[in-house]
């Protein structure tokens, strides 16, 4: 059976142009960027070109990009690195209740080290309240870290307004932009960002590579010590194929694709909402172009996902049953969903490879699946 991949928020298919770009860096230009010889210089050159591409895409300078192993590392580096550089003079971090686990677990670890963390509430569409943010900033605050595009419900925060507040109060501002990168305009100057987390595998690039944008003259302590790579901030031989592929994936991303994907998203949402007793999770406006998240009342999300997979369609769910801790999604909880509703949620995340035929097929199948599962549910009639 042909697979329909509707889980692009988890990861994406690598673009064949990216694969082609990467290939020579395994068997021809395989050098170590630190080596003085020709083959090393080739690698170094490719890496610096990639750095420039990525810097330019967010209006940063080349030397403000530090390559890492991905979103998780960049987020850990940003938070822990600033903690080590500022603690105990400053001891407070502000974040939200809807961050990715790699921010939340890092914050919990920092709490054990003595940091106070404020987890901002969000409204029912997932937006933070700017007044709340203003009120929580103190002279002990190390940084404000707020996810740009939410990976579960697609909410895009107003980084420009948040950045203004941080600038007024002279507080460092970090965002996790793994989901929004190349989909939403990201401008570190306009948004007054000091640190930004990026990765490649959400944008048709390779896994295991990402970057941290770090504004010039920002004091941070490295996590990985060693040979002094990445201006002494992240030691370890650079992943040249990954970095080259990352830059290529940024290069080929374009607003035409974003527009097309957003139109497909709207069509899917519109049709899903025609099924009785279905609610949209997350906002209508300011939503990631590829994110759809709905609750099918009275049926369980893992079961919906299982039936969909039986038809060859890959999705994901925020249901407790599907998580390895049997807890439903913290994001859906934060937007006020009761556990029954979050347990009946499904996330459908599409990409530039999604076709109209796939959407038709999905919409046809999902209607039947919901009918069948509602017959199995004791909560219906």
């Amino acid at each position: 059976m042909k697979k329909i991949y509707f889980d692009n928020a988890a990861t994406t298919q690598v673009d064949e142009k990216v694969i082609k770009e990467i290939q020579p860096y395994f068997d021809e230009k395989y050098g170590n960027a630190s080596s003085a010889h020709e083959i090393g210089k080739q690698a170094k050159h490719a890496m610096e070109k990639a750095r420039k591409t990525i810097a330019k895409s967010i209006n940063a300078k080349r030397d403000e990009i530090i390559f890492t192993s991905g979103g998780t590392e960049s987020n850990n580096f940003a938070l822990k690195g600033l903690f080590f550089a500022n603690y105990p003079e400053k001891n407070h971090i502000i974040t939200t209740k809807i961050e990715h686990d790699c921010i939340l677990r890092t914050c919990e670890w920092l709490e054990k080290q003595g940091v106070k963390v404020t987890y901002l509430d969000v409204d029912k569409e997932g937006f933070i309240n700017l007044e709340d943010l203003k009120k929580t900033i103190t002279d002990k605050t190390i940084l404000v870290t707020i996810i740009h595009g939410n990976n579960e419900i697609g909410t895009i925060q107003d980084l420009e307004s948040i950045g203004k507040i941080c600038k007024e109060k002279n507080i460092l501002f970090h965002t996790d932009a793994c989901q929004s990168f190349t989909k939403v305009n990201l401008n570190v100057k306009k948004m007054n960002l000091d640190l930004v987390t990026l990765n490649a595998h959400k944008i048709h690039g390779p896994k295991g590579v990402g970057a941290l944008y770090l504004r010039r003259n920002t004091k941070i302590v490295p996590l990985a010590h060693g040979g002094g790579h990445e201006r002494n901030l992240r030691s370890g031989t650079e992943n040249i194929p990954g970095i080259v592929g990352f830059a290529k994936s940024v290069d080929i991303a374009n607003s035409k694709d974003v527009k097309k994907i957003a139109e497909m998203r709207d069509k899917i949402i519109e049709n899903l909402l025609k099924i009785p007793n279905v609610t949209l999770n997350g906002p209508k406006e300011n939503r990631l172009c590829n994110n759809i998240n709905v609750s099918f009342n009275n049926i369980e999300g893992e079961a919906v996902g299982g039936y969909l997979e039986n038809e060859g369609i890959c999705t994901s769910t925020g249901s407790a049953c599907a998580s390895n801790t049997l807890k439903s999604s913290h994001v859906l909880k934060a937007i006020g969903l009761e556990s029954l509703q979050s347990n009946s949620s499904i996330r459908v995340s599409i990409s530039k490879y999604t076709t109209d035929e796939e959407i038709e097929y999905f919409l046809e199948k999902i209607k039947k699946i919901i009918e069948k599962l509602r017959k199995i549910s004791p909560l219906v009639g």
Binding site: E300, E302, G306, L326, S377
Partner: protein
Amino acid sequence: MDYSKELLKHFTNPKYVKKIKNPDGVGEVGNVACGDIMHLEIKVEKNKIKDIGFRTFGCAAAIASSDVVCDLAKGKTIKQAEKITKDEIIKKLKKMPPIKVHCSILGIKTLKKAIKDYKKRDGK
């Protein structure tokens, strides 16, 4: 989730999804672990489970376990049905991811509750 083919068969094509007309015993159990609900009804004749049906709000493992519990209980005497264990369910489903074992326990609990209800009604 690492489900067996057998489990997926019961999940996608359960045989015992139905409401029983005038049931002799009804059991409903909520799962504290993940908030799911299983509902089971039995029809008893000459002390034997003549008919049985379930409805479940739950994951693939819960739905498959419900179906298998019904399959195991049907035709058995009340006494035999009371002795069904979660291990029998798991054996029928070939294997069960450890985190999903509680879903098969839910099946047993619901059956026992339906039997208890039957006994109560029957004045035993």
